[in-house]
């Protein structure tokens, strides 16, 4: 195929693919799946953090947290829009999310049990997300790459805020320090799982690399993340809950202990601590908002109708 060859050549030359360009169906499907999951993760990801907005212990922290959750809603909007350039509507994507036919990031199936979890999400979860997402700013699909540029900028801001929150706790009262350590204990391993299964078990990786959607292997990114976190944890005065974590002189990086992939698979299968709650809450918000969306649609239709009638009247006058 000439089209396919041109596409492959463009991708290999790092030319951005745009919505009107020809693309293979499999490329489109992969992008839709990945971008939808990414969008869904932003809106489901609001839940664990919103859980603490009403209880934030200072007004400054409350404002920071509100702004962060608002950014996540905004990221959801960018990403649904970017996905719409591939011909799928936001409503369709939401229906699939609510029906359990599209995924969101498994990390959000873990609960936020204390205020320190807000910090741990910022530091570790946003940190892992950025490590994953920075290469996506050079993704071969233009709208996705551009959305990621905006998102990554804001995410790194969130990551610093989370780190700073944990730092304040770690240097606070013994109870606050313990709260921070407990949060890191609970979020560390799930964060490492965010990079996906080990390279030898990763199904779609090779093709995604060829398409320049993905640019680094799961294990590569995971190691990069660990290398960033270890010195940060030291400054924080918090311990990472991995007795096997040690410097590998030869590789010039840190080796970490074995990841509990059984837990990863369980959570992926719907059996995490909050899978049910997250999806039910999302469905409930959507369903109890149905009458509002219907009202907006009905009102817009009436306005269009009125506009047409007025326009028609004007035409008649002009014609008279």
């Amino acid at each position: 195929h000439a089209l396919a060859a041109a596409f492959d050549a463009a991708v290999a030359d790092e030319v951005r693919i745009e919505p009107r360009d020809w693309m293979p169906d499999a490329y489109r499907d992969t992008l839709v799946r990945q971008m939808a999951q990414h969008a869904h993760s932003e809106i489901i990801g609001m839940q664990p953090e919103a859980n603490w907005i009403t209880r934030a212990p200072s007004l400054r922290r409350k404002a920071i947290l509100m702004a962060k959750v608002q950014d996540e809603a905004g990221h959801g909007l960018y990403l649904y829009s970017a996905t719409e350039t591939l011909g799928v509507s936001r409503d369709d994507l939401l229906d699939k999310l609510h029906a359990g036919r599209q995924r969101y990031s498994s990390i959000f199936n873990y609960p936020t049990l204390t205020w320190a979890d807000v910090g741990a999400i910022g530091w570790l979860v946003d940190g892992a997300a950025i490590t994953n997402q920075v290469p996506l700013c050079r993704c071969s699909y233009g709208p996705y790459a551009r959305a990621m540029v905006r998102i990554c900028k804001e995410e790194s801001f969130h990551q610093r805020q989370g780190y700073e929150l944990l730092l304040a706790l770690s240097r606070g009262t013994p109870e606050q320090h313990a709260m921070a350590q407990d949060a890191v204990n609970r979020w560390w391993w799930p964060s490492l799982m965010m990079f996906g299964p080990p390279d030898d078990e990763s199904a779609h990786s090779a093709q995604s690399m060829a398409w320049r959607i993905k640019r680094h292997s799961n294990d590569e990114l995971r190691r990069r993340f660990v290398d960033i976190c270890v010195p940060q944890a030291e400054i924080l005065g918090l311990t990472l809950p991995d007795p096997d974590l040690r410097w590998n002189e030869e590789r010039g990086g840190y080796d970490h202990g074995p990841i509990d992939w059984a837990e990863f698979r369980e959570v992926l299968r719907g059996n995490g601590p909050c899978n049910r709650e997250r999806l039910e809450r999302r469905r409930a918000a959507h369903e109890s908002g149905a009458w509002v969306r219907q009202a907006a649609v009905a009102y817009a239709a009436k306005q269009r109708e009125a506009g047409r009638a007025a326009g028609h009247g004007a035409d008649q006058e002009a014609g008279a």
């Binding site: 609001m46 907006a296 817009a300």
Partner: protein, 233 residues
């Protein structure tokens, strides 16, 4: 600065209520919009409370009867229509109030001058949704009309004189009513009849008398701060 405390409490309490919507809005755009309004109000609250003392001491260590907000802003979110009715009543009031304050030369004028633009956006947001809900479907019309009626009895308190404030609040009542009537008229809604205050609500919030849901709201808001006395965050 009794007046700054009262206006600061209004903004703080409404921000807290709106914060409960995060992640629960009927459309994603409203998650953004409601949180945005909450953030504006929280910013106003922090400026106003800081005129009177330490913002966190004031927000997290006072008992219910020490808060000076009007009862309107502490009313529970209810459904989206209840929230929009509360926003409409309050944002039209706040726009008039900050507009008048900004023109005066009081200590609050600079704050009001900055906030008046924010508040105009809040009012516009509430108006747009009042139109959509009032003139949308039968169900949305019914819900919006009910919400307006439910909250009506908390509106009279907004116009009680407030000591130390450079604006005559009672004088804002007529223009407020006119603007509300205007929006409701365009939205095919009726202005509620019946009393705009109850046996206890007339000016009561400003004197520290609140409603039952307020105590529960405060418990949630203050719990963590109070559970760690003396800690920094």
């Amino acid at each position: 600065m009794n007046a700054a405390l009262a206006l600061g409490d209004d903004a703080l309490v409404l921000a807290q209520r709106l914060g409960e919507w995060a992640g629960n809005a009927p459309v994603l755009e409203e998650d953004v919009a409601l949180t945005n309004i909450a953030l504006d109000l929280l910013g106003q609250a922090r400026t106003l409370l800081s005129l009177t003392g330490d913002e966190d001491e004031l927000a997290f260590r006072r008992e219910a009867h020490e808060f000076r907000n009007v009862q309107l802003v502490e009313q529970p979110n209810g459904d989206f229509a209840d929230t929009i009715a509360r926003q409409l009543y309050f944002s039209v009031y706040q726009e008039l109030l900050y507009g008048a304050l900004a023109e005066g030369g009081s200590e609050l004028a600079p704050l009001a001058g900055k906030a008046v633009k924010e508040v105009a956006y809040h009012r516009d947001h509430a108006e747009q949704w009042t139109l959509r809900l009032g003139d949308g479907t039968e169900e949305s019309h019914r819900r919006m009309q009910r919400a307006l009626g439910t909250l009506w009895r908390f509106t009279g308190e907004l116009f009680e004189p407030l000591e130390g404030l450079a604006v005559e609040l009672p004088a804002l009542h007529a223009p407020w009513r006119e603007r509300i009537a205007g929006v409701l008229g365009r939205a095919t809604l009726e202005i509620p009849e019946g009393a705009d205050r109850t046996a206890w609500s007339a000016g009561a919030g400003r004197q520290g008398v609140h409603t039952e849901p307020f105590g529960r709201m405060l418990a949630e808001m203050q719990y963590l701060h109070r559970a760690h006395p003396g800690a920094s965050w």
